[in-house]
Symmetry: C2
Subunit: 629 residues, 2 copies
């Protein structure tokens, strides 16, 4: 026992007291889940954490991520102790307009990512640690505080697996085993060995300790930073609500302020105002920079065919060569998404996530914490596996680019398990997202570099099938645009498609043109933000719109078009063609026909609609590409 130990204990008590104070001021929050981990964090911030709170963007800083984000009172109490925020601001916890939110978000400069959906902080920590080892190549450390309840999330074991596989000895996870979840005991309660066996099986060094013994905590951190070649997990037996008899290890105390905070604070020895001088980074160095060349995008010759997924892969390689900050992550389908080209050309910046889509997104989020520009790719259908990670990435204000290949029934024989038919809806409903669905390889190539500079979650849907080259190499396309591919002054109907269905719409326009019906055709290569002006002009000028999408009827191209017409008067008749019954196997052409989204059905629908609206069809003229861009 030393005076240092006493100081740590005192700091632990302060962190408890402040957790009680902030949550009592708020009238809600999770003081007891904070109190269990207070000693663990007191020792960490006093001796092991290296972080310059005055310069949160110093690339040499350690990273501290609360995977158990509901222990936010503890995190804010640490920020106060470190002098990053004042006591007054700490006490604005959970108030409207305060940046001291219910769960941590990066509106605070010392918070890397939003947490609060359990099981995400550790996977993201793995991404940050991987960036430290393989991208930045700096010896900063990543510390992650985990709850015991969240160990039931499979994503935690994806993270254990990947961290063990990559030997991330710059990563230390701390499991706050306080035995009690929201509604009752956890599966393993205080069986620390249960966690140890699992962690060791996944290749981690595991250290069991009493999480309220500051000397043991100190020794555990010391062992963690000495450990090489593998990550370390400190499995700490703690008491929820430790230090206050009324709540310590008591059920029914999750997520509630204390009934008698004053008595509890007194029991803990009263309010303190210990300031901790957190150590600054103790090494020199800058993040590694990869060599670059000038950007030369791939090009595809009109008259030939290529798949947009291939163009994505080609363009990503070109972008990666031109920008050293671009990195790629894939879910073990790189020969389908075509990130395999990036893997071959730029292996130092390619990361194999294996079949672990949640970890794939978390890795991307972790990379962008450190300023890298990640592109993550798998089948669009399998991005749905990580939807909560994408949702939380938006709360984290993360900038990540995602590409989903093999969308829709047009993938053909593999059947519905592999067909993304809800991805456009899901990604449109992510806050601040961008949703791209290019129809042409040259267009795809033009958009890929813009994805890297776009804020937020940027999703590109690519197509499995090879489709005809529509546009010239080098033609300009921008996020937020739409392209009028055909237009006359006499258009009787507008056909709006994107990706595979644009080609069906063009074929339908050909058929209609042969009958003297002019159809405008719009390539809606950006669903969000939509080019509302182009759509509204078509609505005014043709009075009838048919949207065609290889997607369920909800939330895709049709709904994006309807939204931007909501207040239009007069309003065109809009017919949505979409996939409305569960597909099976078949050729792409058979399945497009069965879904009623092929050229034949589009043309039929146009004839029917024009008949309904009172036809004004005349001879259609091909106007070529380039208008109204």
């Amino acid at each position: 026992m030393t005076s240092q130990h006493d100081e740590w204990r005192e700091l632990g008590q302060q962190l408890r007291v402040d957790s009680i104070r902030s949550s009592s001021a708020a009238g809600s929050g999770h003081p007891t889940s904070s109190m269990s981990a207070a000693d663990l964090m007191a020792v960490l911030m006093s001796k092991y954490l290296h972080y310059d709170f005055g310069t949160p963007d110093d690339p040499r800083n350690d990273h501290l991520i609360f995977s158990k984000g509901h222990a936010s009172p503890l995190l804010y109490a640490m920020f106060k102790a470190a002098g990053a925020i004042g006591d007054d601001e700490m006490l604005t916890f959970r108030r409207f307009g305060s940046r001291i939110e219910g769960h941590p978000t990066p509106v605070l400069p010392w918070v890397d990512v939003a947490t609060g959906s359990l099981g995400q902080g550790l996977p993201i920590s793995v991404g940050v640690a991987l960036a430290g080892k393989r991208l930045d190549r700096l010896p900063y450390r990543v510390w992650c505080l985990c709850g015991d309840s969240e160990m039931a999330e499979g994503s935690m074991w994806e993270a254990f697996e990947q961290a063990g596989f990559h030997g991330l000895d710059n990563l230390t996870a701390v499991i706050d085993v306080n035995r009690l979840g929201q509604t009752g005991p956890t599966m393993h309660e205080w069986d620390l060995d249960a966690y140890r066996r699992r962690a060791e099986a996944f290749g981690w060094k595991a250290i069991e300790i009493d999480g309220h013994d500051v000397a043991a905590i100190d020794r555990a951190y010391a062992r963690a930073i000495e450990t090489t070649g593998q990550p370390t997990v400190i499995i700490a037996k703690t008491e929820k609500g430790h230090g206050v008899k009324a709540v310590a290890d008591q059920p029914g105390r999750h997520g509630k302020p204390l009934d008698d905070p004053d008595a509890a604070i007194e029991e803990l020895g009263g309010i303190r105002s210990i300031h901790v001088e957190v150590a600054r980074p103790d090494f020199t160095g800058r993040p590694h920079a990869f060599p670059t060349t000038t950007l030369t995008l791939p090009s595809y010759e009109p008259g030939t065919k290529e798949a947009t997924r291939k163009a994505f892969g080609d363009a990503l390689v070109a972008l990666g060569k031109a920008r050293g900050d671009v990195v790629a992550v894939d879910g073990e389908v790189g020969n389908s998404t075509y990130t395999e080209e990036f893997a071959k050309a730029l292996p130092d910046r390619f990361f194999q996530s294996y079949i672990a889509e949640q970890q794939m997104i978390a890795t991307a989020v972790g990379f962008q914490v450190r300023g890298w520009k990640p592109f993550a790719a798998t089948f669009a259908a399998f991005l749905s596996r990580a939807y909560d990670f994408v949702r939380m990435a938006a709360v984290s204000r993360a900038n990540i680019a995602l590409t989903g290949s093999h969308a829709g029934v047009s993938i053909g024989e593999d059947g519905p398990s592999q067909m993304a038919l809800e991805d456009l809806a899901a990604f449109r409903a992510v806050h601040g997202s961008t949703v791209l669905y290019p129809s042409d390889p040259n267009q795809t190539a033009a958009l890929v570099p813009q994805m890297a500079d776009r804020a937020g979650i940027v999703f590109m849907r690519t197509t499995r099938e090879k489709t005809p080259i529509l546009y010239q190499p080098g033609e300009p396309f921008h996020i937020g645009g739409a392209r009028v591919v055909r237009q006359t002054d006499d258009d009787a109907v507008t056909l709006i498609g994107a990706g595979i269905t644009l080609h069906e719409a063009l074929a339908a326009a050909d058929a209609l043109g042969a009958e003297g019906i002019a159809a405008r055709v719009i390539d809606l290569y950006t669903l969000k933000p939509i080019d509302a002006e182009t759509v509204r002009a078509a609505a005014r000028e043709t009075g009838a719109i048919i949207t065609v999408e290889d997607h369920w009827p909800e939330g895709g191209i049709g709904d994006a078009v309807l939204e931007c017409l909501a207040a239009e008067q007069p309003h065109p008749i809009v017919v949505k063609l979409a996939v409305r019954s569960m597909p099976g196997s078949g050729t792409p052409a058979e399945l497009l026909a069965a879904a009623g989204i092929d050229a034949t059905h589009i043309a039929d629908s146009a004839r029917e609609l024009i008949g309904r609206a009172g036809a004004r069809g005349r001879s259609g003229t091909e106007v070529g590409s380039g208008r109204r861009e």
Copy 2:
């Protein structure tokens, strides 16, 4: 070595040959991934599987689930060997209209669930095994064939954790460790011990074998069925493409027919037509039936307040008492979703998933395989964690009821990580789904029993806050309905809300009424299928619609309304009020106001819209509930 062993080897060769034949006929598919597991399945179906192919709905049947769904050629070859399908039908593999789809789906009566999104078959198998132990109480066994690549999915470890925790000794997983994934070697290649250590750490019996040694396979199954108190995993070292030199253990052979199928078939000893008489269930007994009473739904007194989440919990207990087939699963938030009431009242039919939402949905899917009526609940935000499982449940034609509580900014202080703001979009975009968002506790109670009888994925969004009781106990509400809450002959605008926003719309209508502006108010308690007639009538009669939702603008109430108006002429002006910036913490009232979806903003929007449209507002009259139901 016995003649039985020879027979099994011959059967294994037949399964390989047939896998090659079907994929060659299709021109696509996964023969090499089938060939690795052929011996494992040959022994299983010859000696251990108990299944009456003539009576697939016999409750005593074992269950065989291919978690590695891409090995469908092997599954279909087994069905042929068992006489369930003919050779001709097997060779329709992947053809349009054939039920021999690219990945298995329940269009075949012997397939319990669709697989093909990896990492789902084992979690669902856990659900079926749990049904066998705790619901049906029948000694059928569940056999699950897993790929080694999919072991990287966290959902597999959720399944390992839950199966170990529940001691499911009626479950046997077989990992086909063929070393090669789609693009290259797996993380652990042929390191069988890596899998063994992990499985044992999670409480499983693990048996390592050579997966091409039929005697070893036989012994492993024998040990599996002798093992009590824990599930068993057989970790089998195999060769991808085993038996054909050109492809055996070769990279680049995933998901492709063989180049020279005739030579391969010759190498394997030619086409065979072995018939296997699969053993039938060898026990008598019927599924356990739980006692029931008559249905007495809870009721809530007009003039009081209650949260719809509480009404859901109350109604679920009532339904559970009346129907012995209703079961509940929760993600360790039962005191938030109010499934805790079911857990207390009917503990034998309550299942704690802990914080493992993917396993929660998989358990529900497994239960419905056996005819149970599962209700699964967590925060609506956290259902996004299992979106791929929900997507696949739709492909499985599963009937499951899901309830998501704590939707929207109106949850208040906890902040955006806990706020579902994309759930309506996500669930509307699930094929065949039903999306409910009740506004009142009595209405909620009326809808809950209907959820149990509804086919497909049925989602109910509940509200955290207590809201005023609007409707009388016992008033009828049906899935697919909407309720006109206020209506006059002079309505100048229609306000459409649901859940929390209906109450804001009613307050706005009050404010407008005081100014002489009559507003119709519609309670859109079913978003899908939407009551299009009620919406269209309002559009015709008022000419202006304001939708209000505690949700991002995409894919929710506003888009559901726009869709059913797409072809209306004349078309009303529609204004969508929705959450458009990232919320923080605050009181529900503060956050509703900040999002522009409270009564004040609705009324302002109505005034502006009426001004735009040319006001025809007159005095509004409360018409009470009950019209146009």
